[in-house]
Amino acid sequence: MESRPTREETEKAAAAWLLKRSDPQWSHADQTELDEWLAASPGHRVSFIRLESIWVDTDRLKSIASGFSKGQIPPRGAIEQSPFFTMKQAETKDRDPETEVFSSPDNAPLPLAGEAPRVTISKEDRPRRGSFAIAASILLATAVVVTIYSIDYAGRGKSYSTSVGGLSTVPTQDGSVVTLNTDSKIEVRFTAQERRIELKKGEAFFEVAKDPSKPFTVYAGNQRVVAVGTKFSVRLNPNAIHVAVTEGKVRLEERPSILDLPRRTQPPENHAGARDGLTAGTVADIAESRISVEQRPIPEIEQTLSWRTGYIVLNGTPLSEAIAEFNRYNTRQLTIGDTSLAMLKVEGNFRSNNLDGFVRLLEEGFEVKAGETGDGRIVLSKK
């Protein structure tokens, strides 16, 4: 009892074990020795568990470090100022959005005409987006505008597009601002009755100037999104349309076909509830006739719109999705060579063109190795 080691000695020994354990040379014999050391005293076990719990978690700092270049230790204070925190600090702790799925009429009760919209909106917990807005505007101002083609068609309006990895801001004559994401294309046609945007490809974020006399309508696939003065994004995927609203309110309508009577302003009855009031904080996915509407904290939506600042934000995102995101922004394409990797959860904040950084991090943080194929693809497989 007299020669009992002090806490400090025990902690130092435990720390040394933890360091040794991360050595690639760590062997079975070492493990046995560690087990014996742990067995020798409960004090050893306490110190080991306590130090290990934080030391292992320290790895998570990697996710913030991705914003800094390798081999360079960020100056003191820089990490907390990184976009990772400035963008995400507004996020609410409460991540339990109310979700409602609206489906086609055959398996869902029909909302009666005139019934209040079924979309529920949580009014509480809507933190300020000031920090995001500032970060966004600074970054936007410095963002490299890649290519904007502006072609004047007779009566077809102006067409704007970005190439892969591009990001550009398109001001329109009414004061609205459209931000185009990578590999996207829009056509703008303003008439006396309507401000009409056709999303041909990709994704765009709209900040609509208020003008009740002229609805601002975004056509995407077989849908149109009608806004008066609001902020929202529309993304056109091969078989789905994704709408996210961060301010104001939009209405979702089926695009009138040429056979329809001119300008049907009433949405089809069976979707009235879901389509009528997409208010701020709503995310809607439309695939075929099925619409699913979800409420999300606005900062979270803003986060998915982080592309406007040139960032991809991954938040426990499955690797398969993360890769799909990166592939939108880069001509060098990632693929998964090992299906077991698809569900790996990735967290972090990356410049969308920092493909190498992302791959390096995967290799360092997970059991992943990357190999380049002849045709310029990067294949991720298990180590």
Partner: protein, 218 residues
């Protein structure tokens, strides 16, 4: 009563078993037990520290006592996990404290009276951990930013950039033992800061100690 446990390796389990003096074999140090201990016991460190501080103890003594409380709780939990871990933790702390005071023959009456009313038991760290993220990451970052310069640099290289100790030593032109000393210090300081025990004085004293120590290497 605290005789050394007998170490038995079960052929069926990768984790060691301990035979307790009272005869039963318990398996411990597996991931499940560890995370239970972290979540249910260590998470209360801020509150526990505050509680122990109300006695006459110095910061360093508080940290020692905290450690001893953990030992008692760990040993008991290895045998059988307490139904209400937090209450058990504080009961153990109280008993140990009374014990010490008796031995020292100094018993501040008000302390004894006050002991039951330690009801301001915040354990933010577990809430943050459970919330999955950002707040906890911020806590880690803040702790990291409090490390002394060299220590911070070495921890960054080892943990974030995954550079082996040997290479860090080469790059910085210092002995590998020094790198290790920095990492040991970094690990202990980060742990102390993250669990929120405000042993600032201790950390200061400790970093002075390390600077001195590393001059000699290992």
């Amino acid at each position: 009563m605290t005789g050394a446990n007998i170490y038995v390796r079960s052929p069926y389990s990768p984790h060691p078993c301990y035979r307790h003096p009272d005869g039963c074999n318990v398996r411990t140090m597996d991931a499940e037990f560890k995370s239970w201990f972290v979540r249910e016991i260590l998470a209360h460190e801020t509150a526990l520290t505050r509680f122990l501080k109300r006695s006459w103890l110095s910061s360093n003594d508080v940290a020692d006592l905290c450690h001893d409380v953990y030992i008692k709780v760990l040993e008991a939990s290895e045998r059988q996990r307490p139904v209400s871990p937090k209450a058990f933790l504080f009961a153990t702390a109280r008993n140990l404290l009374v014990d010490r005071m008796r031995r020292n023959q100094v018993v501040p009456i008000d302390l004894l009276q006050d002991m039951e009313s330690s009801n301001v038991l915040v354990d933010e760290i577990s809430a943050e951990r459970a919330a999955g993220g950002l707040q906890y990451l911020l806590r880690l970052t803040k702790a990291f930013e409090k490390l002394p310069d060299r220590c911070r640099e070495v921890v960054w290289m080892r943990k974030i950039e995954n550079i082996p100790q040997k290479q860090i030593a080469q790059r910085l032109g210092i002995a590998e033992a020094t790198v290790e000393a920095h990492l040991v210090r970094g690990m202990r300081t980060l742990t102390q800061l993250c669990y929120g025990g405000d042993h600032d004085e201790e950390i200061k004293a400790r970093s002075d100690g390390v600077t001195h120590e590393t001059k000699h290497g290992k």
